[in-house]
Symmetry: C2
Subunit: 275 residues, 2 copies
């Protein structure tokens, strides 16, 4: 018998992946969590029926969320990751020696627990001494923070379920308050093929709060359309004006210093969404 995981990424389009094994499946306090072993992508974390990360292609998302803002900031020391319980963004953050402390605020402790168990190559740095892991509400954590972080990364699920607040203007205003005077934030903002309105809305909201607002893209095979966007809001530093000396050697599979800038060069129909 062949078992296949099929995800409807829209009402009428999706992906399908052959399964070797279902490793874990439960309804947590917040969402449906499935950990499956696939033939093509290795172990795969699925939340509420949407692929969050896989062993084979996780590096794209995690590198691009982390390194673009961290190389844009001249000296990131105190970093916050909202969501990201699989630990992939944290692993990339720790590649920056300037970072003294990285805080992870994940609402669902089960995501951390099962990522450590079944995605060790992704979650392996969550116990690093520079990391503080908090199981709690990222929205509340942001609301209670002021002038504290150099860089904030929002590694959330889609704007349904527990993450719906993380796509609101109030949240972006809170992030601005939680950042230091030259702080930077990045959020994953879905894809331009099926969620064009979301990208435009987030860009408009972030532009009202941050003087520098930019969209960049990366290719992620297991995410809808394969093209993923990230919205950056920055109080001062422009990712397109990072000097050559700022970059240091870093062990990556996707990110390069040349791609740092090329990722902001958008196809015309994508650029039109954020004009």
């Amino acid at each position: 018998m062949e078992l296949w995981y099929t995800e409807k990424q829209t009402k009428s389009f999706g992906i399908t992946a052959k399964i070797k094994n279902t490793l874990h499946s439960e309804q947590t306090e917040f969402q449906k969590l499935d950990m499956i072993e696939t033939e093509e992508f290795g172990n795969m974390l699925v939340l509420d029926g949407m692929v969050m990360t896989t062993e084979k292609d996780e590096f794209v998302y995690h590198e691009m969320v982390a390194h673009v803002p961290l190389f844009t900031h001249p000296n990131p020391e105190n970093v916050l990751v909202v969501g990201g319980g699989d630990g992939g963004v944290i692993r990339e953050v720790l590649k920056h020696p300037s970072v003294k402390k990285a805080t992870l605020v994940e609402i669902d402790g089960k995501v951390i627990e099962y990522s450590k168990k079944y995605l060790p190559s992704i979650a392996g740095e969550l116990d690093n001494a520079r990391v503080e892991v908090k199981v709690g509400d990222g929205f509340m954590h942001i609301a209670q923070s002021e002038n504290e972080y150099d860089v904030i990364m929002v590694d959330s699920t889609e704007p349904v379920g527990p993450a719906v607040n993380l796509f609101s203007k109030g949240f972006y205003a809170g992030i601005s308050k939680a950042l230091k005077e030259d702080g930077i934030f990045v959020a994953q903002t879905d894809n331009p093929w099926f969620k064009a309105d979301l990208i435009s809305q987030v860009s408009r909201d972030v532009k009202e709060i941050f003087p520098v607002t930019r969209l960049y893209i990366a290719n992620i095979p297991t995410y809808p359309s394969g093209m993923w966007t990230f919205t950056m809001g920055s109080k001062k530093h422009d990712p397109l004006e990072v000097s050559e000396e700022r970059f240091h050697e870093i062990d990556t599979k996707y990110y390069t210093k040349e791609l740092h800038k090329a990722a902001f060069v958008l196809p015309r129909f994508v650029g039109d969404l954020v004009k």
Copy 2:
């Protein structure tokens, strides 16, 4: 009853699209041809079980095959498209006023026939006075041409079935002979996630024949992994050294003159394939 088209893009991964209607289905002399109406992507041409083009996302492939070499060449007048019976590349080629003649050599007349019928927004320019359509073997056409074309685009299926010759070193040598002394060619060369070896092999072969060999990428949601590569071989002109004045205004949805260069900035694991 719901009908879904499911394509295994690898042995264990694929896409699935809800079907409104099957418009046409036949075994031609060369391949299995299906034209289906999908909810998400409009009409879709499928050859031997692989999506060739859809009304919704076709512009990416067709613009990127055509405009990158055509803006790299200083004055493309005589252009050849091998394959491409849907007419999408021809439509983009004709947006360049310098082009006096565009020849299409498609092996399967049925592709042309059913594209004209069911994909009129793509195939609509095949009857243009500047276009000559030949139903025949592209490999043979190339072998019989010498010092004739400014730009050649290879818009083939995957290297199975009728297109297998179009991924051979002998074919690239023939292309070199068929091109003028400063000619350029581009071929689609599949994706780096599932076909890494193919990309490396083509790049090695093309490098032995063309002094300028470059790989560039674009996002195509209905193609495997969503990331597609194109290999360019050029006798003289470098796509990264096109002067600003060379670009003219052009009606596109994906290509821009900025993306012309950014498309060559590769993620590290892709760049490593062609080192």
